[in-house]
C-alpha cells in the first residue's frame, strides 16, 4: 500500500464522515469531498442521495471531469430552485466544503479577508449558502493545506457559518440543527467532540504527530484517541479510480504526496 496517496487517504476519511447518514443529500464540494461522498454511497451507505453537481439526483455517482453531457443517469430531480425547501431547510443534507478560514468555535469564513465589510482587503465568494447550511443540517470540512492561515487564532474575519460560539448566538434562537461533524485535512481528522464542542484531533495520518498538527493550528487542540487514520483498501482505491478517471485528485494536495509521510 506504499503507493496510496494522501489525497486517497483523505477521500477514504471523507467517505467515513457520510457513513450511516441515511436518506439525506450528501454534497461534497471539491474533488476530495465529492469523491468521499461517492465512495460512501458505493460502499457502506447506499441510501445516500446525491446530485450530478447540476440538478439531477443520481444513484450512480457521476465521475469527475470531462465526460459526455448525458452520461449521468437521472433518477430524480433536485434543482437549485427547490434546494432550500427540499434539502437545506428540512435538514436532509450533509455537506462537506472547504471554507477559507475556520476558528476554534467551528465558525467558518468564505466571504472576505481583512479590511472592513465596506472595503475588504480581499473579497472572496460571499457567504453563499453557509449561514443556512450550518443552522439547518450537518456539515463537515476538508482542507488540503492545514496551516495557521486556515485554522486561525481568534475568530474568522467574517462569520459566514454558525459555530459553537455562545457569544455569537442571539438569545432565543433555535440552534438545534447546528451539527459540525468532521474536519479532514492533509495532516489529520478532527471533530468537535472536545469540551464544549472544542476541536479535537481524533486520528493522525501516517507519520504525522499531534505536535505537527498543533503547530499548524492557531488555537489549542484537544486530543482524542489519536489512532492512525486508516488507509483505503484495494476495493476503495478501485472505486476512487473509477470515479476520478482523469486523476484530478492528484492535483488537490501540493506535490501529491504519499499517504505515509516521509520524515
Amino acid at each position: 500500500m506504499t503507493d496510496v496517496t494522501l489525497a486517497e487517504l483523505c477521500i477514504y476519511a471523507a467517505s467515513e464522515a457520510f457513513r450511516g447518514n441515511g436518506e439525506i443529500v450528501a454534497t461534497g464540494v471539491g474533488p476530495v469531498p465529492r469523491l468521499g461522498a461517492g465512495l460512501a454511497k458505493l460502499t457502506h451507505t447506499p441510501e445516500l442521495m446525491m446530485t450530478d453537481g447540476e440538478c439531477y439526483l443520481v444513484e450512480q455517482p457521476v465521475p469527475l471531469g470531462p465526460r459526455n453531457y448525458d452520461d449521468r443517469k437521472k433518477a430524480g430531480y433536485l434543482p437549485f430552485s427547490r434546494f432550500f425547501d427540499s434539502a437545506v431547510w428540512t435538514g436532509r443534507r450533509h455537506a462537506m466544503v472547504t471554507p477559507t478560514q475556520i476558528d476554534r468555535f467551528g465558525q467558518i469564513n468564505l466571504s472576505q479577508l481583512g479590511g472592513t465589510h465596506k472595503q475588504p482587503k480581499t473579497q472572496m465568494l460571499g457567504v453563499r449558502g453557509f449561514p443556512g447550511n450550518t443552522i439547518y443540517h450537518p456539515n463537515s470540512f476538508f482542507f488540503p493545506s492545514h496551516t495557521t492561515r486556515v485554522f486561525v487564532e481568534g475568530e474568522v474575519d467574517m462569520v459566514s457559518g454558525v459555530g459553537y460560539n455562545p457569544a455569537k448566538r442571539i438569545a432565543g434562537g433555535n440552534y438545534s440543527g447546528v451539527a459540525l461533524k468532521k474536519i479532514i485535512t492533509n495532516l489529520c481528522v478532527m471533530d468537535f467532540g472536545g469540551t464544549d464542542n472544542a476541536v479535537r484531533v481524533v486520528s493522525l495520518h501516517p507519520g504525522v504527530t499531534f505536535q505537527d498538527v498543533q503547530a499548524a493550528t492557531g488555537f489549542p487542540l484537544e486530543k482524542g484517541d489519536l489512532v492512525e487514520t486508516p488507509l483505503p483498501d484495494a476495493d476503495a482505491l478501485a472505486i476512487i479510480a473509477q470515479l476520478d478517471p482523469h486523476n484530478i485528485r492528484a492535483s488537490v494536495i501540493k506535490d501529491n504526496p504519499p499517504a505515509q509521510r516521509v520524515s
Binding site: C55, P79, S81, G126, G132, Y136, V159, V162
Partner: protein, 292 residues
C-alpha cells in the same frame, strides 16, 4: 397593452437612475446579458443590483453603474471569484447587503407576496444580521422563538432571459434548472424578458410545452427577442457558457484592469456588433453545455 414587444433600448429607457433592479439567472448561468449590455451602453447610474451574481454584477460594477449590490455570492463557477466585482469591493466603492442564498430567495418571496419580511433561522449565529442591519422578530406562539426578519427584496424592475415567449408575454422556460427567475418576476414592479425565440401565439406553436410557463404573463411588462442574449453565460438547452470569453474578461481585470479600456470588447457599440465580434449567433449556438 397586450402586445408587449419592445426593443432592448426601449426596455432600458423605462429604467431610471437609482432604481433597484433584479437580474435573473445564477452565477454564469441564464443571465440576461444582452439587456445588461444595453444598460452598459446607457447613461443609467446609481443602481441597486439584486442578483445571484455573475458577470452581470461584475460588468455593472466595473462600469460604475452600481451604488449597491444585494448578493450571496458573485462567481463565474470555474473562475470562482468574479474579478471585476472583487476590484470594486476592494476599492470600497460599493454599498452592500450580503445575505445567504436561501435568505435571498426568501426576500424575493416576501416582496412577491407584498409582505414586509419573512421570518427565518438563517443568519442567526453569523455576522450577517449585524453587518446588514437585519432585525429579529419573536414568534407570538408558545415556542417564543427568535427569528431573523428577512426584509422583502422589492424590485423596481427585473430582467430575465427565457427560452421562448410570445408577444403577449407567455413565456416558456426550459433547461435543467431555472433557478429563482420566477421569484424575480414576481418580486418586481415590472419584469422585462428577453428570449431566445419569439413566437406569434404560443397556443399555435408550442401548446404541448405549456407546463414550462414558469411565471404567468401578468408578471411580464416587456418582451424582446435576443437570441444568444445570455452569452457569455449558459442558456440550456440552447448553448453552454463561454469559458474562453469569461477568461478573457477575467484577464482584462488584471491587465489593463481599466474597464473603459476594454468595455468595447465586452459590450460593443450595439448588440449586433457584440455578436459579430464573438463569431455570430452560430458560434454561440455551438457552445457545448457545461458538465458539472
Amino acid at each position: 397593452m397586450l402586445d408587449k414587444r419592445m426593443t432592448a433600448a426601449d426596455i432600458v429607457a423605462q429604467l431610471s437612475d437609482g432604481m433597484t433592479i433584479g437580474v435573473g439567472g445564477w452565477g454564469p448561468r441564464r443571465k440576461p446579458m444582452a439587456l445588461v449590455r444595453e444598460i452598459l451602453r446607457s447613461n443609467l447610474k446609481d443602481l441597486t443590483i439584486v442578483a445571484y451574481g455573475g458577470a452581470d454584477v461584475g460588468m455593472l460594477c466595473a462600469a460604475g453603474k452600481v451604488k449597491k449590490v444585494v448578493f450571496a455570492f458573485v462567481s463565474l463557477d470555474a473562475i470562482p471569484l468574479e474579478p471585476w466585482f472583487r476590484k470594486a469591493r476592494e476599492a470600497g466603492q460599493l454599498e452592500v447587503l450580503e445575505v445567504d442564498e436561501g435568505m435571498f430567495q426568501w426576500g424575493l418571496k416576501a416582496a412577491a407576496f407584498g409582505l414586509p419580511f419573512l421570518p427565518t433561522r438563517v443568519g442567526l449565529g453569523t455576522d450577517l444580521a449585524a453587518l446588514g442591519g437585519l432585525k429579529t422578530v419573536t414568534s407570538p406562539y408558545a415556542d417564543g422563538e427568535t427569528l431573523i426578519a428577512m426584509p422583502a427584496l422589492k424590485l423596481d424592475a427585473a430582467l430575465i432571459h427565457v427560452n421562448r415567449s410570445d408577444w403577449r408575454g407567455n413565456v416558456q422556460v426550459f433547461g435543467p434548472d431555472v433557478y429563482y427567475d420566477e421569484w424575480f418576476a414576481k418580486a418586481a414592479a415590472k419584469t422585462y424578458v428577453s428570449c431566445e425565440e419569439l413566437v406569434d401565439r404560443m397556443e399555435d406553436h408550442f401548446p404541448d410545452d405549456a407546463q414550462f410557463n414558469l411565471f404567468e404573463r401578468c408578471f411580464v411588462t416587456g418582451v424582446v427577442e435576443l437570441s444568444g442574449g445570455a452569452h457569455p453565460s449558459s442558456m440550456p438547452p440552447h448553448y453552454g457558457w463561454d469559458m474562453k470569453a469569461f477568461k478573457a474578461y477575467a484577464d482584462a481585470a488584471k491587465d489593463p484592469g481599466d474597464w473603459s479600456a476594454v468595455a468595447d470588447r465586452f459590450v460593443g457599440a450595439s448588440e449586433a456588433d457584440y455578436l459579430n465580434s464573438i463569431g455570430g449567433k452560430e458560434a454561440v449556438a455551438a457552445l457545448p453545455l457545461p458538465i458539472f
